[in-house]
């Protein structure tokens, strides 16, 4: 399994000289399996360049897994090359809502006054799938999606394939559920997707002192992210969803802060950087 980060910024794109190393594109991850299956997790602005790369490589079928429909996880979809290729197929998966279908909710962002082209007029084939309530399979991969603590219907994903596992929980505020680190794993938000996972990509938007003024906004401090990684037994952690006010230098301090917290993960935590490739060996 190969994981590539195309965007790891939270909330809003932040291009510029202050964010060159970590990148300014919003959430998008590519996961490639040995059998050629391609998963794309979230459609932040990072998906635009990924789409160009997929077109260049002749990839005609992807599974796009959306965690939720906040703009920083959806705004790149309108510029995703496969959507405009009549030979491409996108299987698009996302959380269910009590009122409106996934298709209709996404279609809103392809309508006036937000965008000139209707989703139904794009030439690529899009198959919409509201997420199953239980685990399911796509090819050789086993997937689990589970609702997690974040405003509005939001899920995290676990993908197991090629003998390894990855959990993607980019927007998450488990601290709202109290002292989760002292709970059994079945009482931890997203516990079933992150438990003993080989690689956990997790929200760490704030320093602890920043979090105090942002309680309930749906994101984690670095302290909370590392406590979560320990509580679920993650082997490796990549800190994700960088705050738009955080420069590369600030992110280096955040990484140092994470490492100083003395977690039990096998490898030291790292902050996500655009272009980063993580190869997960079979265990």
């Amino acid at each position: 399994m190969r994981v590539r980060i195309w965007g790891c910024r939270g909330s809003v794109p932040t291009p510029g000289p202050q964010t060159v190393r970590c990148g300014g594109n919003t959430s998008c991850i590519e996961i490639s399996l040995d059998d050629g299956t391609v998963f794309v997790l979230d459609a932040g602005t990072g998906i635009r360049e990924l789409g160009n790369q997929l077109a260049e490589n002749g990839v005609k079928h992807v599974h796009l897994m959306l965690t939720h429909l906040h703009l920083d996880h959806l705004e790149g979809l309108r510029f995703f090359a496969p959507l405009f290729d009549p030979e491409s197929t996108i299987d698009l998966w996302g959380p269910r809502s009590p009122v409106v279908t996934l298709k209709e909710r996404i279609r809103r962002s392809f309508s006036p006054p937000l965008f000139p082209i209707d989703l139904m007029d794009t030439p690529g084939r899009v198959n919409f799938h509201e997420l199953p309530k239980t685990q399911w399979r796509i090819g050789e991969a086993r997937l689990i999606a589970s609702l997690i603590v974040h405003p509005g219907p939001t899920v995290g994903y676990r993908i197991e394939a090629d003998g390894s596992s990855v959990a993607y929980i980019p927007d998450h505020e488990p601290a709202l559920t109290g002292d989760f680190a002292r709970r059994s794993r079945d009482w931890i938000s997203g516990g079933s997707i992150a438990e003993d996972v080989d690689l956990l990509l997790h929200d760490a938007q704030y320093f602890e002192e920043e979090y105090d003024g942002r309680l309930g906004w749906g994101h984690s401090s670095v302290d909370s992210a590392m406590a979560y990684a320990d509580a679920v037994g993650a082997r490796r952690v990549v800190l994700f969803h960088h705050d738009p006010t955080h420069s590369d230098e600030t992110m280096e301090r955040l990484e140092a802060e994470a490492r100083s917290l003395g977690s039990n993960t096998h490898d030291p935590p790292i902050v996500a950087r655009e272009g980063m490739v993580l190869e997960l060996p079979s265990r």
């Binding site: 689990i144 589970s146 709202l176 997203g190 079933s192």
Partner: protein, 131 residues
């Protein structure tokens, strides 16, 4: 590589809410298992949740010998928690219960179902009101 099944997020959030309430509150999952009651409920139950642990809701309810206001046995189908679990609607009842500490108490119970996402029944909340 199998993982343990987590409680539904709505139950996790309900537990956190209940933990911070001074009103005695219990939570059962969709299968009818009592999964939590708060500290405020300990006075009525007579023991802490950690001493009892998870157990079938029916078994838990029956252990209190619930009776009507006239002290007649309360039919199972009138128990608010049973109604919320089986009929998936809110229910309220005034009754007498014999707590595990041996004290007879008059209480009212309101129970209501919890639904998540589009239509998923995930459990119930039961609230005790001291009469």
């Amino acid at each position: 590589m199998a993982t343990a099944r987590s409680k539904h997020l709505v139950l996790i959030l309900a537990r956190e809410l209940a933990s911070n309430l001074a009103t005695p509150t219990l939570i059962a999952d969709a299968e009818g298992t009592l999964v939590f009651f708060n500290e405020a409920a300990e006075e009525i139950v007579g023991r802490g949740f950690s001493e009892i642990g998870e157990m079938p809701m029916d078994e838990f309810s029956a252990s209190f010998t619930p009776r009507t206001r006239n002290h007649a046995p309360l039919a199972d189908e009138r128990r608010p928690t049973r109604i919320a679990l089986e009929e998936r609607r809110a229910a309220h009842e005034q009754l007498w219960v014999l707590s595990r500490d041996g004290v007879d108490r008059q209480v009212a119970i309101t129970a209501f179902p919890l639904f998540a996402e589009a239509d998923e029944f995930v459990g119930i909340v039961g609230i005790f009101w001291r009469e």
